[in-house]
């Protein structure tokens, strides 16, 4: 048995080797097709000045405006806080939408809650109908998930901008669509990959499909799902910050203004604010992982 396993074992090294060779070949082709030269990656005299100014800003982020402002302007730090608040608000609103759609589509896109393993050989009419309908539903949901995911949130935002004009709800939806798709994809995989013994035992003592799903499958997958949701929240905050580049009142809006005025110290204030929020979420989610997932 052991010898057989050894003999039939893959030789991962060679597969990896071939894959790595392919990857580097692709990179070389990409390099050639983009016509890049290493010299261009080194900033010119002008760029060096900008870079220096930018790096200097990292050490001394601005606490007040770098230029003269009319009296009565909101202090910089308050503006940063307001931008930060809107960034988190957009992200939270988007995540709540995508969590609902992600759970729903993730459930429909998973297969492990389908009827018992005795499968479709049973003769009851209802079961046979279900057996033909489920795969159709599954495929449709999968295609929907793929479509939601394959358009970047900024492209959704641009599409909505063209369709509706500047509106904060459409910005939230723009984030929520691809994030919902991603959550659905990952949730369904987590539900399908979680251990099924408890589901089987539940079924054995007579539980019905919804009960099996709610009490046998979902609790096993829930820790991973919540930890992943946290991670996506962190991503949503970044996405919502970037939406500011298109005129929404999140961090990106002010960051872009400051950068275009070459106020790099202000840029760093915004960057550090974003950094702080992301760090906070990271600490929170790592605590969650440590206490819940790795118990």
């Amino acid at each position: 048995m052991a010898a057989e396993a050894l003999l039939s074992a893959p030789r991962p090294a060679s597969r990896r080797g071939r894959l790595l060779a392919g990857v580097f070949l692709a990179a070389a082709l990409a390099w050639i097709s983009l016509g890049l030269s290493p010299a261009d990656a080194v900033p010119g005299a002008n760029g060096r000045g900008v870079l220096l100014l930018f790096l200097e800003g990292a050490v001394r982020p601005a606490l007040t405006y770098e230029a003269e402002v009319p009296s009565g302007t909101t202090p910089l730090l308050l503006k940063v806080l307001a931008a930060l608040r809107d960034t988190v608000v957009f992200a939270a609103a988007a995540m709540s939408l995508s969590l609902v759609s992600g759970l729903l589509l993730g459930f429909l896109g998973a297969t492990s809650w389908w009827a018992d393993e005795s499968g479709c050989s049973a003769s009851s009419f209802g079961r046979r109908v279900r057996c033909t309908l489920m795969p159709v539903l599954y495929t449709t949901v999968r295609a929907l998930i793929a479509l939601m995911r394959s358009v970047h949130e900024l492209l959704w935002a641009v599409l909505f901008l063209a369709a509706f004009g500047l509106n904060s709800f459409s910005a939230v939806v723009a984030i929520a669509i691809p994030y919902g798709g991603t959550l659905a994809k990952v949730f369904s995989e987590m539900i399908d990959e979680c251990p099924r013994e408890s589901a089987r035992s539940l079924r054995a003592i007579g539980a019905r499909s919804p009960q099996v799903f709610l009490w046998g499958l979902l609790p096993r997958a829930l820790p991973d799902m919540s930890s992943y949701t946290f991670y996506r929240f962190e991503c949503a905050i970044r996405s919502s910050a970037i939406l500011g580049f298109f005129g929404y009142p999140t961090l990106g809006y002010y960051l872009r203004l400051s950068a275009e005025n070459v106020h790099y110290r202000e840029v760093w204030t915004y960057l550090y604010a974003l950094f702080a929020v992301v760090l906070l979420f990271e600490l929170w989610s790592s605590q969650l992982r440590r206490r819940v997932v790795l118990r």
Binding site: S150, H152, L154, V158, F164, F169, I242, V278, L288
Partner: protein, 302 residues
């Protein structure tokens, strides 16, 4: 006992975590605040002006140009689409893929160098020896600095990074996009790589240590080969994201698909814009497929 009772008992005795509950409650509060604080304008979306805008968009703007001119045959439509694609679509799609391939490979090489420095079982006085007792503060400081640098890299969104790099390197080459994606993903892959190394089966590494292998030899002979499989999986996952992001980075002025999407938007050629977004969907599908195939090739048994 009847089955419902047993089910009920099982449900009552399930493991719970107070921390998880508090977190969920806090998040629910945050979501409630987000919807009620007035920053998200729910009603405004359905105002008359917006709905008129939407109708115009759907009935005129996105209708492909030849159809609007009354040429409803498929040939004219095909010629129009082919024209747009030939002029900018194909080349931009190719550039988008090239940017993301190059960026992810650069990111992998970068993070491969930094990941061991952030892993607690490598960057320590007595590597792979377990408890880390008697550790010098220098090792700890090194790990923390590397980790912080990686967090900083990945907490700056690639879009912002590219925007800033554009003013340093100029828009003539694809470097700003490539470097932005590479740096951001180096932060992510570095963290994932460090975690992979920390989670490695300690047995083989300890035995290498026991026969007196120096740190570098253990890295080359043990850590890297063992971690490579997992790492490649992450590499391909991140590649998928890279393609999506590379598309979008063009909107800043680098030549990728996003550049022409932005261009069409500025000219209000929304039919063209939609076509190019469609091209983006196709290359994202292609990249996902390539990545899925590569991952299956890695996992496949014999």
């Amino acid at each position: 006992m009847t089955s419902p009772d047993r089910l009920e008992r099982l449900r009552r005795e399930r493991p719970r975590s107070r921390f998880l509950r508090a977190s969920v409650a806090l998040l629910a509060l945050l979501a409630a605040y987000a919807w009620s604080c007035g920053s998200v304008d729910l009603v405004g979306l359905f105002s008359d002006r917006r709905l008129r805008n939407l109708r115009r968009f759907l009935e005129q703007d996105v209708v492909p140009y030849p159809l609007r001119e009354g040429q409803s045959d498929a040939g004219a439509l095909g010629r129009w689409a082919h024209g747009v694609l030939l002029e900018r679509g194909y080349e931009a799609a190719l550039a988008t893929i090239a940017i993301s391939v190059l960026a992810i490979v650069l990111a992998a090489v970068l993070s491969w160098c930094f990941a061991p420095l952030a892993a607690a079982n490598v960057a320590t006085r007595r590597p792979f020896d377990g408890d880390g007792r008697g550790e010098r503060w220098a090792w700890r400081a090194l790990r923390i600095v590397v980790r912080l640098a990686m967090i900083l890299l990945r907490s700056i969104p690639e879009y912002v990074l590219a925007f800033l790099l554009l003013s340093v390197l100029g828009p003539e080459t694809a470097w700003p996009a490539v470097l932005a994606l590479a740096l951001h993903n180096a932060g992510i892959l570095g963290r994932l790589g460090a975690e992979t190394i920390e989670n490695l089966e300690p047995g083989p590494l300890r035995s290498l240590r026991a026969i007196g292998a120096p740190r570098r030899a253990i890295l080359m002979a043990g850590v890297f080969p063992l971690a490579l499989g997992r790492y490649l999986l992450y590499f391909f996952y991140r590649f998928e994201t890279c393609v999506r992001e590379a598309t979008v980075l063009g909107m800043l002025g680098v030549v990728s698909l996003g550049y022409w999407i932005q261009d069409a938007r500025a000219k209000q050629y929304y039919d063209e814009m939609l076509l190019l977004v469609g091209v983006g969907v196709v290359i994202v599908f292609a990249a996902d497929l390539a990545s899925a195939l590569a991952r299956r090739y890695l996992r496949e048994r014999a």
